[in-house]
């Protein structure tokens, strides 16, 4: 299987897709305001006519490239290209101010690659056994698993639990529109034939992540211009020995990133800051952190890149997205006919292993083009929002239309954009909404199938050790999160 998958990668289109994906990812990630989620959402329509392996490698290349690209503007401008690179800015920009921008960028690049390779190896080790385990799951176990995933997103996704719960429920509610998954009866379609297909994932996520950003920029108007800061030289050198000295930091940060990535809904910002804090606490030179310490750049970069492989573990093996980006990638997998979940490895083993191998091999173009693009990136990060967002609006309209060649989907995209804009203005988190929208229909299907099997009795959940165990862990997590909040509140008082 591994060899067949490797042969599948020896195709010129796969190589082109990998290179284009990584370059596009680095450029997009470097531009503040354009994250990997928006980039992948807008690029999905481009992959419609491609075969699955190059299409998915293109999108995963964008993902990997963009997470590293975010550190470029964080280091050079102190403006994180992605939220996860905010921790990198603490020491990265301090190094840039000391004239060591090139060194900081190279440390960020090598640490990113280390974190990425580490997490991809974990992905290769864990995903298939987890999928095999899930093959034995019936509807009751699947429903309990999805409830667990949603609970983790709400409890540990960061921010207010109540806001996350509200957003998750909004997502699940949106998933109700359309035909009932068991009986095929229309629900909340208000007589519209087009609405019977439900709210399509791609137009909704383009609206939530791209159109809402356009509207936020329109709301801010002229105030959105970025100051054009002067950026110093990006030349420099970081040897293997310098990186070897950071090996423990890189390893621990990659472990933190991979582990947090596996948990649904937390994203890459939390592990980046946790790794930064951990590196600082075990350093002999704590006082140098925040003033240009190289390990302060390496730790968050290794962690936020390690999330990429970790987040793909539950997504590929269980069909549960780890964060907003993997939720978008899940949509891309489904459009290519590869439905993530326990059966993916059985039905599309070669494709999945090809993607695993490609994820590790993507590190090569990432290093090569990362090093080549530092100078070019200096110009890219100076692009003003008023020059970028008109193009994003055009791509959003095109992307929503191209899914089904339907103007109804473009309307859905605009509606999702308005709702996303309002929620973002309020500070409500969007990833729980998206994950609720994705997990809502399968949760309903599993829950109702389980209850239909048991004649409406909840005993089916209590008689299954797996379902009972998952519900027990969910209850323990809720208890743990409540105790943690209570302790923080007491400490605050």
């Amino acid at each position: 299987m591994l060899l067949d998958a490797f042969y599948a990668l020896l195709d010129v289109w796969v190589v082109i897709a990998a290179v284009v994906g990584v370059i596009a990812g680095i450029v997009i990630g470097a531009i503040p305001g354009l994250g990997p989620t928006m980039a992948i959402a807008l690029l999905i329509p481009v992959t419609f006519t491609m075969s699955p392996i190059p299409a998915l490698i293109l999108l995963l290349g964008v993902y990997q490239g963009a997470i590293f690209g975010g550190s470029i503007s964080a280091i050079l401008l102190n403006v994180p290209g992605t939220p996860s690179s905010a921790a990198t800015a603490l020491d990265g920009h301090a190094m840039a101010r000391q004239g060591k921008a090139g060194e900081a960028l190279r440390i960020a690049l090598y640490a990113s690659v280390f974190g990425n390779v580490f997490s991809c190896l974990v992905l290769m080790l864990l995903a298939q056994p987890l999928a095999s385990l899930a093959l034995d799951f019936g509807p009751a176990q699947m429903a309990a698993l999805m409830l667990f995933a949603l609970a983790i997103i709400v409890l540990f996704g960061g921010g207010s639990i109540l806001d996350s719960a509200l957003m998750t429920l909004v997502g699940i509610t949106a998933g109700i529109v359309g035909l009932d998954p068991i009986e095929g009866l229309p629900r909340f379609t208000f007589g519209s034939f087009a609405a019977e297909d439900g709210l399509q994932l791609i137009p909704v996520l383009i609206g939530l992540f791209a159109m809402s950003e356009v509207l936020l920029q329109a709301f801010g108007g002229h105030r959105q211009s970025r100051p054009s800061a002067e950026v110093g030289s990006v030349s420099g050198h970081v040897g293997l020995l310098a990186m070897w000295r950071m090996r423990v930091t890189l390893l621990i940060s990659s472990l933190i990133g991979t582990f947090v990535g596996i948990l649904p809904g937390i994203g890459s910002t939390v592990p980046a800051f946790v790794s930064y804090g951990f590196a600082r606490s075990r350093s002999r030179h704590k006082e140098t952190f925040g003033q240009g310490e190289p390990e302060g750049v390496a730790a968050p970069e290794a962690a936020n890149n390690a999330v990429t492989g970790g987040a793909l573990v539950p997504m590929l093996s269980l069909g549960i997205p780890g964060d907003a980006v993997t939720a978008v990638i899940l949509g891309a997998f489904m459009l290519q006919g590869l439905t993530p979940g326990p059966f993916l490895f059985q039905h599309h083993g070669v494709e999945v292993y090809a993607i695993f191998e490609a994820l590790v091999l993507l590190s090569i173009p990432c290093v090569l083009f990362g090093l080549m693009m530092f100078k070019g990136a200096v110009h890219v990060i100076k692009l003003q929002p008023r020059h970028l967002f008109p193009a994003i609006a055009i791509l959003a309209i095109f992307g929503a239309f191209s899914v089904n060649n339907s103007l109804f989907d473009v309307g859905v995209m605009l509606g999702a954009g308005v709702i996303g804009f309002l929620f973002r203005r309020c500070g409500f988190p969007l990833p729980p909404l998206l994950i609720g929208l994705i997990l809502g229909p399968p949760l309903e299907e599993s829950l109702r199938q389980a209850l239909l099997t048991s004649g409406g009795s909840v005993d089916i959940f209590l008689n299954s050790p797996i379902a009972l165990g998952l519900l027990g862990v969910t209850a323990l997590c809720a208890l743990g999160a409540s105790l943690q909040r209570l302790r923080h509140r007491r400490q605050g008082n």
Binding site: L166, T173, R187, A218, I397
Partner: protein
């Protein structure tokens, strides 16, 4: 005190802000959903003892109403995000309406014209006044997207 600072402090002290309005909207949506459940979800009773088509929507909408109500109650004294200036909202509303009109007219005027108008409008709203960047750039992007979609992706754009 400068007028700008005064107005921002006045805005920040408001207890009824954007969060309360949006949460109230969600509560309203959940309640309307619950009240219209019978008319919007038809159920054919075949004597099954399990849950019907209305079971899950009823559960989720009830939870949504409960959570929205709980949030309103818990944040009743919290200081919220100010609504913002009428000018900012008008600009955003104008953008939404114009994009909506461009989408509605797409079948009539075609993708290229609709997308170009949207691009030009967004560029203008974001403060770009140079002809090359506010008109020519969106036109070129729209033309490139149209050409690529038709020639490379074989998509039947309007």
């Amino acid at each position: 005190m400068k007028p700008g600072i005064e107005s921002s402090q006045e805005n920040a002290d408001r207890h009824v802000g954007l969060q309360t309005l949006i949460t109230s909207g969600l509560l309203l949506v959940a309640l309307v959903g619950l009240f219209t459940l019978s008319s919007q979800v038809t159920v054919f009773d075949f004597g099954d003892s399990g849950p019907d088509s209305r079971f899950f929507p009823r559960l989720v909408l009830s939870l949504l109403a409960l959570m929205a109500g709980l949030r309103l109650w818990r944040h009743r004294h919290a200081v919220e995000t100010a609504l913002g200036s009428t000018r900012d909202w008008s600009r955003t509303l104008f953008a939404v309406v114009l994009i909506g009109v461009a989408i509605a007219a797409m079948n009539l005027v075609g993708f290229l014209a609709s997308a170009a108008v949207v691009g030009i409008l967004i560029s203008w709203l974001l403060g770009e006044r140079r002809l090359l960047l506010s008109v020519v750039l969106p036109l070129v992007v729209a033309a490139l997207v149209t050409l690529s979609a038709r020639q490379l992706l074989n998509l039947p754009l309007p």
